[in-house]
């Protein structure tokens, strides 16, 4: 049985992003995002019968899905925490589509919430975002390896060594995404332009990654409501059909070969959707770092392996030809909601709601989610026609 076109995204809810202290924890942002998505779809809370919850690094109080189910007084046929790291959004949407297509549930909310930023205290300092993400892991931490930045820096360094990729090319990705963000009123960097000089002048995080090679940290929530294609057609917004979903998990570690889980996820998702790469009109690629975008462009085959640097610099992610990539500004310049960043912008583009940044062609849109240094991947192909 193919899932193609059987289900659709009927609702999208996005809270304010960034230094947003409307809620004290991830669940508050998740609940707000669910309410926004229900209103967007023209659905009531009682219409929901499925809840798939992903929380970022900040929520450490056990199963978020149970807590949210309780606090929102939901009655569900499907309830789970979904944690495949940054890949979770694509994973949850696939689970929702499968559940709906097989009659396990009817209206499923896939929601992400995170609140790593703490409000400033009187006389003290706010933030602490880096601390939330700077977790030690096993033996490597004895050598000063904390968080995720360093692993992606190793990928960038290796790519530079093997293929001659330059700092300017990584910078071009950061700048192109910023230019998209400057057209996106929801973006944290909406009003702040970025030049190559700014990029080079920004501090090193883990060399060769500058500050602007690394994604934002955001408080916020995003909810996507999935239902059957039939039901979606009767709701408020034009349906965004789920045409194909796929996961791909490479054994890793990715630094060894610079190979990723993308080709496996792509094969499944594209085959289900009945599309080839040339059919994709907008690509929203997970971009926790500039190098992630570069390796994703190669992984999907937008350019050959090793040529991601020149490709990104020449096409400027769609500003100067080729396919529009990360049209909302991505995680680098818009907001960091893990896989919900590419997924939310893919939905906006497919609906034609992108305003100044809207791609004229948006019938087939790709959202790609990754984690584990690109070894774990999920892909979602969305479209305006079933």
């Amino acid at each position: 049985m193919s899932l193609k076109g059987k289900t659709a995204i009927a609702g999208l809810g996005i809270t304010r992003m960034g230094k947003n202290y409307d809620h004290s924890n991830a669940l508050g942002f998740a609940a707000e995002a669910i309410s926004l998505a229900l209103a967007d779809a023209g659905l009531k809370r009682s219409d929901l019968d499925g809840l798939l919850v992903t929380t970022g690094v900040s929520y450490r109080d056990g199963l978020a899905s149970f807590a949210l189910q309780d606090s929102m007084r939901l009655t569900s046929r499907l309830l789970a925490d979904v944690n495949a790291g940054g890949s979770s959004a694509g994973t949850a949407i696939a689970m929702a589509a499968q559940a709906i297509a097989t009659g396990t549930a009817n209206v499923v909310a896939c929601v992400f919430g995170d609140a790593p930023l703490k409000p400033p205290t009187p006389g003290g300092k706010g933030g602490g975002a880096g601390d939330a993400y700077g977790t030690p892991r096993g033996l490597d931490s004895a050598y000063g390896a904390f968080g995720a930045n360093w692993v992606y820096a190793l990928l960038a360094q290796r790519h530079m060594y093997l293929y001659g990729t330059t700092q300017d090319q990584l910078g071009a990705i950061a700048i192109s995404e910023r230019q998209w963000a400057n057209r996106n009123p929801m973006a944290q960097f909406y009003k702040e332009p970025l030049t190559l000089e700014d990029y080079h002048a920004s501090r090193w995080i883990t060399e060769p990654l500058h500050l602007y090679d690394c994604c934002l940290v955001s408080n916020g929530g995003v909810c996507v409501i999935v239902t059957s294609a039939e039901r979606a057609r009767d709701l408020k917004k034009p349906p965004v059909y789920i045409l194909g979903v796929g996961q791909g998990h490479h054994p890793g570690p990715s630094v060894e070969s610079l190979d990723t889980g993308i080709p496996i996820a792509k094969e499944t998702a594209f085959k289900m959707a009945g599309v080839e790469l040339k059919d994709i009109q907008v690509a929203e690629l997970y971009d926790c770092y500039t190098i992630t975008v570069l390796l994703s462009l190669e992984g999907y085959g937008f350019c050959k392996k090793g040529e991601g640097g020149p490709f990104a610099a020449q096409t400027r992610l769609g500003h100067a030809g080729s396919i529009p990539v990360n049209t909302g500004g991505g995680e680098l310049s818009s907001y960091y909601m893990w896989g919900m960043t590419p997924v939310s912008e893919a939905i906006i583009q497919a609906r034609g709601e992108g305003g100044e940044r809207q791609s004229p062609r948006h019938d087939v849109v790709l959202a790609s989610c990754q984690t584990r240094n690109l070894s774990t991947h999920s892909a979602v192909v969305l479209g305006t026609n079933p």
Binding site: P136, Y143, G144, G147, A153, L154, Q157
Partner: protein
Amino acid sequence: MAEEAKLILNVTRDLKPFFDAARGHKLAVQKCDKCGQLRFPPAPLCLACDSDQASWVTVSGRGQVFSFTIMHRAYHPAFKAPYTLAVIELNEGVKITSNVIGIEPSKVKCGMPVEVVFDKLNEEVTLPKFRPAS
């Protein structure tokens, strides 16, 4: 630095032979008892033949920088930025994450030959690190 560094290091049962060897200034990795394939970090199964039987063997401690990054922020008081984190490809083919020391971080290059040195943090923990090959 020693006591602070110890705080974040969990010497697990899997890694005990690695640290036992390091105290005696030897670099040890796992070797499959069945097919002889080397592996690091320690893992339950051989990637070549699936055998779960393995021993620890000493390797040369010579290799090259496979990739590296310069950490410009210390997330723990045991470390002083900038410092070099690297994946070292040992001559025996196994890769290990470590520090490159004894050289300015900005001078480190991929492909650079390195050799192991031992950094004694305290009586329990000695860490194998790498410096430019002599």
